[in-house]
Every structure is written in structure tokens, then in C-alpha cells.
């Protein structure tokens, strides 16, 4: 158990190893593509390079995780604990998968600007800072680095007006929301005199929270509400998910949402654990609104991509219920559900990318009719994803929902649990027809070929494989999630010594 001194340069770089490696990789890619940025081979080269970077960063993370470092004194800027490592791991998975899916997609859609991969790496770095930050400033910076990169990625397909409009909407409302977030940080700084989350928690400990602090907390919730696409701040999500190129939509739905949720968890649990009765009802209301509206509107969607957009709003609702519990089991449930959600969404968007053409806005239930007969394994994978999103036993999605329900029940009143259960029943209304049209409807003449590249197939096989394997033997992944969650100071002194 080594101790590192964050004050020294060596200590800081060691603590930030995965981020540093990734930034380095991004710069290398930038350097390489300054010569070679015209042909398809160039973008493929850039892709493989960025993949290498992600791999290196994973190695760095593995080292950090096994070395089990303890920071000397308070971790000022970045957390050095398993919660951050778990978050970084999830982000790396999302990034790697997005890159692998993009290899084929970029060539097919003629988006031959290799900067694509550099931006993905930079966005990933931003996410890591956001997820790992113990200081509001670092989290703001991480948020902005990520957002700016993703704004460009969303508008990457210069040829299509949808991509441009999506980028514009995302940018305008994104900037608007980050202004609120910043104002929140300012007020909290005003109330507590510090921007470090742990100190905020300490300073707000005594007595109830001053007005400035409460206002700041509210504004923070608004900012993160936007990032997580919780209702009423969700309006951008359907259009942006719809317009963006499919791998980027996958990247946004998984990486961006994961980083946002984890950052929110850390801030609420470490920073505002004593004023839980202030933010708990707000988070509950956000969760309920997201679950209800997300699932209901998804029912009436014809295009698959837009339906998945609304379903991701619903899943944001499920995650918020986990955060609402405020217990370390809740945090564990959040982490586990994020993993389940990330794996499933990556696989789903991967398959969607293979099925569609030109932004996949035209892929509806009829286009995938009869897929079960023509492409049995692809249909099986998409069915597994649908069942995991539905939370059907045998998949990691079910284990995730089961853990969230366990956490909710721990808070001694199951009303939120019943709402979660009923809204996920409504979700059966739009997940099942997907399976139904693939297996039970005759194939139409125009149904797509669904040809996938080697890399794409690899992503699907790994993610769906993990989904099912962890679905039946959730032991290991469950252990990691709950142990890493216990690191948080644990807001509510609930009976959360549940987990041995």
C-alpha cells in the first residue's frame, strides 16, 4: 500500500496516469494526422493509434488499481480511490467500443476526417476528469473539455443537416446549462469558501445549509440534470441523439451520461451528505419524471434510434432513483447499473449502426422485420440487449435493477420502487415489439443487409457476452461495484452495513 504525495509533480502524474496517457495518445494522433488526413487508410491508422492509446490508459489504470495507492493528506484535486477507478474503467470501455464501431462507420459514411478519433480521446479525458474530480473546478473543467469535444463530434457529419442541427441544439442548451452549473459553483464557493468537495461536506456539516449554499446546490442539480438528460432538462436529448452519427450517439449515451451520474453521485454523497433532506426530494422528483415521461414517449416512437433516445432518458431516471437512496448500497447500485446500461447501449447502437445508412434515422420496426430468420446471431444479440434494457432475468440489466430495488427498499419505503417497476413494465411495450418484429414478422424486401466489420462484431460479442455472463454469475462484478461504492463517505447513516 504505497502512499503518494499529490503535491509533488511525480505524485500528481502517478495519480493521473490514465488521463495523462490518454492525453498523450490524443496528441500523438493529432501529430500523425497532420501529415496523413485524406485517405481512408489514414483514418483507419488514426483509429488504431487511438485504440492503442486507450489500451495503454487501461494498463495504467490496472497498475493504479492493483497498486492501491493512498494519497498523503486530503486528495485536493482528483480522487485516488476505487470509485474513480471503476468510473475510469467504464469510460475506457465506452471509448474503446465507440472507436471500434466507428472504424467501419466512418468509412461507410465518408467522414474521412481523422480528427474524429482525436476528439473522442479528448472527450474521454474530459469524462475521466469529471468523474474523478474532488474539486468543483476540476469537475467543471472536465465537463467543458468533454462537452466541447462532443459538440464537434455530434456535428461531425458535415453532409447532413440533421448532424448540424443536433450540434447546434446541443451546443446552445449545453452552454446554457453549464452557465447554471458554474453559477452554482460560484455560490457554493461563496457559501463555504472552498471548492473542494470534501471540505464543502465538512463545512456544511454544522447546522443547516446557508441560503447561498442551498441556491448553489440547486443550480448544481440543474447543471447535472441537463448532463444526465433528466426530465425537464431532457428536451435536447431526443433530437441530438437522433441527429448525431450513431457511434457518437452511443458514446454520448454511455460515456457522457456515466461521467455525469458518477460526478453527481460523488458531489452529493461527499459534499452534501448532511443536507440530504434538501436534495433527496428533488432527485426523487427528477427520477420519477424521467422514468414516466421517458418510457411513455418511447412507446409512440417509430424510429428505433429515437426510441432508444427516450429509453436512455428513462434509464437516467432509474439511475437517479439509485442516487436518491443516498446510501453506499445506492452508490454501488448506480455503478453496477451504469455498467449494465453502458454495455447494453453500446451493443444496441453498434447493431443499429450496422443496420442503418446515413444516420440510421430511417431504421424502424418494419425495416428490421424478419431479421431473426436472416441473421439469427445478430437478432439474438439485439434481443439480449432489449431484454437487458427491460431488466429481464438472465441479463446484467436485471441484476442492475434488482440492486437498485434492494437499495430503495433499504430506505424503508418502496413507493419509488413500485414506480420504477411499473414504468419498466411500460417499457416492455416498446422493447418487446423490437424482438417481435425480428422473429415474428416476415422479412420485407427492403430490410437491410446488416453487414458488420470484424471490429464491430468483436464489440457486439464482448458486450453481449459480458451481459449474459454477468447476468447469470453477477458475483464478481457485484462485489467490485459495492466495495468501490463504500469508499464514499456515505451520506445517510442508513443500515448500509448490509454488504459484508
Amino acid at each position: 500500500m504505497q502512499t503518494i504525495d499529490l503535491a509533488t509533480a511525480g505524485g500528481a502524474t502517478l495519480a493521473l496516469l490514465p488521463e495523462v496517457v490518454l492525453t498523450g495518445a490524443a496528441l500523438v494522433v493529432l501529430l500523425v494526422l497532420s501529415w496523413r488526413h485524406t485517405t481512408a487508410e489514414d483514418s483507419r491508422l488514426a483509429g488504431y493509434l487511438s485504440l492503442g492509446g486507450v489500451g495503454l490508459s487501461a494498463v495504467a489504470l490496472a497498475y493504479l488499481w492493483t497498486a492501491d495507492l493512498q494519497p498523503l493528506g486530503l486528495a485536493h484535486m482528483i480522487a485516488v480511490d476505487t470509485f474513480r477507478y471503476a468510473a475510469v474503467a467504464i469510460i475506457l470501455i465506452a471509448t474503446a467500443a465507440t472507436i471500434l464501431l466507428s472504424l467501419q462507420y466512418v468509412e461507410r459514411e465518408r467522414l474521412l476526417a481523422p480528427e474524429y478519433y482525436c476528439l473522442i480521446l479528448l472527450a474521454a479525458t474530459g469524462m475521466m476528469y469529471l468523474a474523478g474530480a474532488t474539486d468543483l473546478i476540476v469537475s467543471f473543467l472536465g465537463l467543458e473539455v468533454m462537452s466541447v469535444a462532443v459538440y464537434v463530434l455530434v456535428g461531425f457529419n458535415r453532409g447532413s443537416v440533421f448532424s448540424a442541427e443536433a450540434a447546434l441544439k446541443y451546443f446552445l442548451i449545453g452552454a446554457f446549462a453549464s452557465a447554471f452549473l458554474l453559477y452554482g459553483i460560484a455560490l457554493i464557493y461563496g457559501a463555504t469558501g472552498t471548492t473542494n468537495i470534501m471540505e464543502i461536506g465538512a463545512r456544511l456539516g454544522q447546522g443547516n445549509i446557508p441560503v447561498l449554499g442551498a441556491l448553489g446546490l440547486g443550480l448544481l442539480l440543474i447543471g447535472f440534470g441537463f448532463k444526465v438528460a433528466a426530465v425537464p432538462f431532457h428536451m435536447w436529448a431526443p433530437d441530438v441523439y437522433d441527429g448525431a452519427p450513431t457511434p457518437i450517439t452511443g458514446f454520448m449515451a454511455t460515456g457522457v451520461k456515466a461521467a455525469g451520474v458518477i460526478a453527481l453521485t460523488r458531489i452529493l454523497f461527499d459534499g452534501f451528505s448532511h443536507s440530504i433532506d434538501l436534495w433527496q426530494p428533488v432527485v426523487a422528483a427528477l427520477a420519477i419524471a424521467s422514468m414516466v415521461l421517458g418510457n411513455l414517449v418511447a412507446l409512440s416512437q417509430r424510429s428505433l434510434k429515437r426510441m432508444l433516445a427516450y429509453s436512455s432518458i428513462a434509464h437516467a431516471g432509474y439511475l437517479l432513483t439509485a442516487i436518491w437512496t443516498g446510501s453506499s448500497l445506492g452508490a454501488g447500485a448506480t455503478l453496477l447499473y451504469i455498467l449494465a446500461y453502458v454495455l447494453t447501449t453500446l451493443a444496441t447502437f453498434g447493431i443499429l449502426a450496422a443496420l442503418g445508412r446515413g444516420g440510421e434515422r430511417d431504421v424502424t420496426l418494419d425495416t428490421i422485420a424478419g431479421l431473426g430468420a436472416r441473421r439469427p446471431w445478430l437478432a439474438f444479440a439485439l434481443s439480449a440487449c432489449m431484454l437487458s434494457l427491460l431488466g429481464f432475468p438472465g441479463t446484467l440489466g436485471f441484476i442492475g435493477k434488482w440492486t437498485i430495488l434492494m437499495a430503495i427498499v433499504n430506505q424503508a419505503h418502496a413507493a419509488l420502487g413500485i414506480i420504477l417497476v411499473l414504468t419498466s413494465l411500460v417499457s416492455a411495450g416498446y422493447y418487446l415489439p423490437v424482438i417481435m418484429s425480428m422473429y415474428m414478422k416476415p422479412a420485407s424486401a427492403t430490410s437491410p443487409e446488416g453487414k458488420m466489420s470484424g471490429a464491430g462484431i468483436a464489440v457486439i460479442v464482448v458486450t453481449v457476452g459480458l451481459l449474459l455472463v454477468f447476468g447469470f454469475w453477477p458475483g464478481p462484478v457485484l462485489g467490485i461495484a459495492t466495495n468501490s461504492a463504500r469508499v464514499l463517505s456515505g451520506a445517510v447513516p442508513s443500515v448500509n452495513a448490509l454488504v459484508r
Binding site: L387, W402, V409, A414, V421, L422, M436, Y439, M440, V499
Partner: protein, 517 residues
């Protein structure tokens, strides 16, 4: 026989083998060729049945407690282990399932033309799911199998179903899932509440059973969660509308498994989980009045609606609602005779309705219509078919001497002491049963042979006779010699009744229904 079984260590591996074999079979079928998919399916099904016969001797039901209990830790952090066990009640459900599986596979040989591999694989997976429900002793495992069983059935109805199969498939799925999701919340709240009281987090059945009394204050809500899931499955009156659609659209084997086995999981759930966990609520005055009232409605309403059905399969579906209304009355009457009557109805109904659905399937294969009006006077053309259809119908009506009568007689006899008026009304169900089935039978096989297509029908082939023979033998055998079966299940029934006594002050939910019993 028992010493041979113990020498083979039958008790240790049989329950796991029963679950694993169909899954392996399904995999082998999937990777085999389409042509011999059905043959592999049949081999696996017959093997499964042969294996399960040993249970009759291996399971010593005299003590009435769980036998052959085996536990493998699954998710230790939540106190979940793969616990399985079998007792007098679940033994017969398992045997019924394994007996029907080969018949289902055999009857689908010519019925299924497209995607045979997937069909037989799904049929085998369905059996695993069902068997899992009957032998699981851990609520998490029970819940997983309860939901897993949905997928094969959903595909069976959805892919090989009739014209309106999509609606029926999703209706079946959402109906059952709605109930089971609420059960999920109930399970979690119960486990958590018991953990708070006892400090032990475990989903095992014995543990929960022991401590269920400590969460009495929560029991009305918890019983509501469990009860709703099982009520939808039974199905009880207001929640039954998925059954006719699912039956009409499902392929023959699907209908048989659905009617003969899947419906019994509802009642099994009540007997195993809902009532023993919360006896004071379940058997309190108002829930009893409610359930018996709904059971009565089910019996009479089911029979009356069955009478006017133009489609023979919907008729049999509504008759199932009526029969299972009897079983619910038997369970809630709470005497040894009535509960054993309920179990006999569960088995008997499996035989008679299974036979009826097989026969309707064979008729459908020949004429591709289920409208009763399309037939008439075919007794002369297909005598063997008509004789077997007659026997199956008589068993379903409850003719004394056949298996239907034993169950209904015991239920009504056992329930009379506590609910004389209810039994009086329920017995009229016996009249309506005769009315609707005989009327349908007459329009099917008697009356004038006026349609030319009917004159060219060919009688049952050897394969079809092989499918029907065990059922007919079972119907007659259970009717005349129910002794061994009744004795075998009696200790388990007695043990259930010990668990299911409402205690001195049953919980009253609504003040107005406080008639003293």
C-alpha cells in the same frame, strides 16, 4: 427400486439433471440438422421422463417436508443460493410436466413446418423454466425461473401461433410480467424487513417461512404483491382475459403446456409462497370472502361464457378458467380433503384439458379451422378420434369414474363445512360444464355430416394414438385408482395446512367484511 436409486445416488443429482438436461437438449437440437431436430427433441424428452419416474420412489413424502434439498451458493453477497427441493405437492407437478413434454414433442411432428429447430429448443427451455419454478426453494431463483419461463412461451405463441398471434403473445407477456414485477418488489421488501428484524440477509424459503410472522404489520401489502402475480397466472376472474387469446393463438404443444402446467404455477405459488408466508392475511375473513367470491364467479362465468364460444379452443380455455376456479375454492376452504381435491384438479385438469387440446390440434391439422360450425357428424368418418374426444370431454365434465370427478368431488366435499352456500353455487358449475361441453361435442362429432370436406377426414395415425394413449390411460387410471396418488400427497397437504392456519386473530383489511366465520 428405492435401494437401486440410492445406490445410484439418485437423490443428489436428479433435480439438477432435470433442469440441465432440457437445456443441453436444446443446445444439441439447435446445432443439429433441421430434419432430426424433432427426433433429438423426442429422445431428450423421453429421457427426461424416464429420469423423472424415479422421483416417485426416491421422494419419501411421508414426513411432508422438503426432500432431496440441495443448495449451491450463487450470489453470496445477497444471501442467494441455488436451493432446490421437492415435496409431495411439487412432485406431481414435476411428473405432470415431464410426462407431457414427450407427448407435446410427439404431437408437433407434423404440426410444425417452419423453424423446427428453434421450436423444439424453445419447448425444452420452457420445460426447464417450469421445472425450475416447481422445485426452487430460493425466492430469487424462483423469481428468475418464473420470468425465464415467459420467453419460450412468448416465442412459441408469437412465431408459430395463429393469425392474431402478435397481440396474444405480447398480452400474455405483459400480463404475467405486470404481476411478477409487483411480486419482485414484495419479495425484496419482505427479505429486507426480515433482515432488519433478524439481521440475516437470505432469500432461502425456510428462512423466510420461519420469520414471515415477524413482518405481520407489512403482510397485507406483501400478500397483495404475491397474490396478484399468482392470481394473474391461475387465472382468477378479472385477470383471465389473456388466457383465451393465448390459447387460441398458441400452437398445439404450446396450448397443452400452457393449460396443463403453466396455469398450475399460479395455484402452486399460492400453496407454496403466498398463503404459508402470510396466513393471517390470506385466510383472514375478507381475503377468503374475496377469493371464494372470485372463484365462484370464475366457475360460473367461465362455464357460461364457454357455452357461447364459436371457437372450440376458446371454449376449452374458458373451461380451464372454470376448473381452476374449483381449485382456488379448494385451496381457500382449508380442509385436507379440499386442498387435496385442488391438487387432484391440478393434475386431472392437466390430463383432460391436455388431451382436449391435443385432439383439437389434430383436428386443426386436418381442416385448418377451429370453428365448431365447420364440423358436424364426423363420428362416422373418424370413430377412434370421436371415442377419445368423448372420453376426454367426459373427464373434463367430471363424470364419476374418471379423473375429473375425484378432484371436484373432494373440493366440494371438503369446502362444504366452512362455505355451504359457496359449494351450493359451485356445484351448479357441474351442470353448466355438462351443458357447454356436450353441446360443443354434439356440434362437432354428431349431427348431420353435411359438409363434403368432413367426409374425407382420415382417422388418427399411430403416432397420434401414441400421443393420446398415456392421457386416456391416465384419465381412467386416476379416476378408478387415485388411492396411491392421494396417499403420496397427503403428508405434504397436512404440513401445508399446519403452515396455513390464520391463527387466533386474522388481519381484517376492510372493516365491512367482518362476518364471523
Amino acid at each position: 427400486m428405492t435401494d437401486f436409486l440410492t445406490s445410484v445416488g439418485y437423490g443428489q443429482w436428479i433435480l439438477h439433471a432435470l433442469i440441465a438436461l432440457p437445456v443441453l437438449g436444446a443446445i444439441v437440437v439447435l446445432f443439429g440438422t433441421t430434419a432430426n431436430a424433432k427426433r433429438i427433441g423426442l429422445v431428450v424428452a423421453v429421457l427426461e421422463f424416464i429420469l423423472s419416474i424415479g422421483l416417485w420412489w426416491a421422494v419419501d413424502t411421508r414426513p411432508g417436508t422438503m426432500q432431496l434439498v440441495a443448495a449451491i451458493p450463487w450470489i453470496p453477497t445477497w444471501g442467494i443460493s441455488y436451493r432446490v427441493g421437492i415435496d409431495g405437492i411439487s412432485l406431481f407437478m414435476v411428473l405432470l410436466t415431464t410426462m407431457l413434454l414427450p407427448l407435446c414433442v410427439l404431437s408437433s411432428f407434423t404440426y410444425i413446418a417452419k423453424r423446427e429447430k428453434a421450436y423444439y429448443a424453445l419447448l425444452l427451455l420452457l420445460t426447464t423454466g417450469v421445472l425450475g419454478v416447481f422445485i426452487s426453494l430460493d425466492l430469487f431463483v424462483f423469481y428468475v425461473f418464473w420470468e425465464l419461463m415467459l420467453i419460450p412461451m412468448y416465442f412459441l405463441i408469437g412465431i408459430w401461433g395463429g393469425t392474431n398471434r402478435l397481440y396474444a403473445a405480447i398480452k400474455f407477456f405483459v400480463f404475467t410480467m405486470a404481476g411478477s414485477l409487483l411480486m419482485l418488489v414484495a419479495i425484496l421488501v419482505m427479505v429486507y424487513r426480515i433482515r432488519v428484524v433478524t439481521g440475516v440477509l437470505s432469500f432461502s424459503y425456510e428462512h423466510l417461512l420461519l420469520n414471515a410472522v415477524k413482518v405481520r404489520s407489512w403482510s397485507p401489502w406483501l400478500f397483495g404483491g404475491f397474490g396478484l402475480a399468482f392470481a394473474i397466472k391461475v387465472p382468477i376472474f378479472p385477470f383471465h382475459t389473456w388466457l383465451p387469446d393465448a390459447h387460441v393463438e398458441a400452437p398445439t404443444a404450446g396450448s397443452v403446456m400452457l393449460a396443463s402446467v403453466l396455469l398450475k404455477m399460479g395455484i402452486y405459488g399460492f400453496l407454496r409462497f403466498a398463503i404459508p408466508f402470510f396466513p393471517s392475511v390470506a385466510l383472514g375473513p375478507d381475503i377468503t370472502a374475496l377469493v371464494i367470491g372470485l372463484a365462484l364467479i370464475g366457475i360460473i362465468y367461465g362455464a357460461l361464457v364457454a357455452m357461447v364460444q364459436p371457437d372450440i379452443k376458446k371454449l376449452v380455455a374458458y373451461s380451464s378458467v372454470s376448473h381452476l376456479g374449483f381449485a382456488m375454492l379448494g385451496v381457500w376452504a382449508g380442509s385436507v380433503q379440499s386442498v387435496q381435491g385442488a391438487l387432484m384438479v391440478m393434475i386431472g385438469h392437466g390430463f383432460s384439458t391436455g388431451a382436449l387440446f391435443f385432439l383439437i390440434g389434430m383436428l386443426y391439422e386436418r381442416r385448418h379451422t377451429r370453428e365448431i360450425s365447420a364440423y358436424g357428424g364426423i363420428a362416422r368418418v373418424v370413430p377412434l378420434f370421436s371415442v377419445i374426444l368423448m372420453i376426454a370431454s367426459l373427464s373434463s365434465i367430471g363424470l364419476p369414474g374418471l379423473n375429473g370427478f375425484i378432484g371436484e368431488f373432494l373440493i366440494l366435499l371438503g369446502s362444504f363445512r366452512n362455505h355451504p352456500v359457496a359449494v351450493g353455487l359451485a356445484t351448479t358449475g357441474v351442470i353448466f360444464a355438462a351443458a357447454y361441453l356436450l353441446w360443443a361435442l354434439q356440434r362437432l362429432i354428431f349431427n348431420r355430416l353435411d359438409k363434403p370436406e368432413n367426409s374425407s377426414l382420415r382417422d388418427l395415425t399411430l403416432r397420434e394414438v401414441l400421443v393420446m394413449a398415456p392421457l386416456v390411460i391416465g384419465i381412467v387410471w386416476l379416476g378408478l385408482f387415485p388411492g396411491p396418488v392421494l396417499r403420496k400427497m397427503e403428508p405434504a397437504t397436512k404440513r401445508y395446512l399446519e403452515l396455513a392456519d390464520p391463527g387466533i386473530h386474522p388481519i381484517k383489511l376492510f372493516s365491512f367484511a367482518d362476518k364471523s366465520k
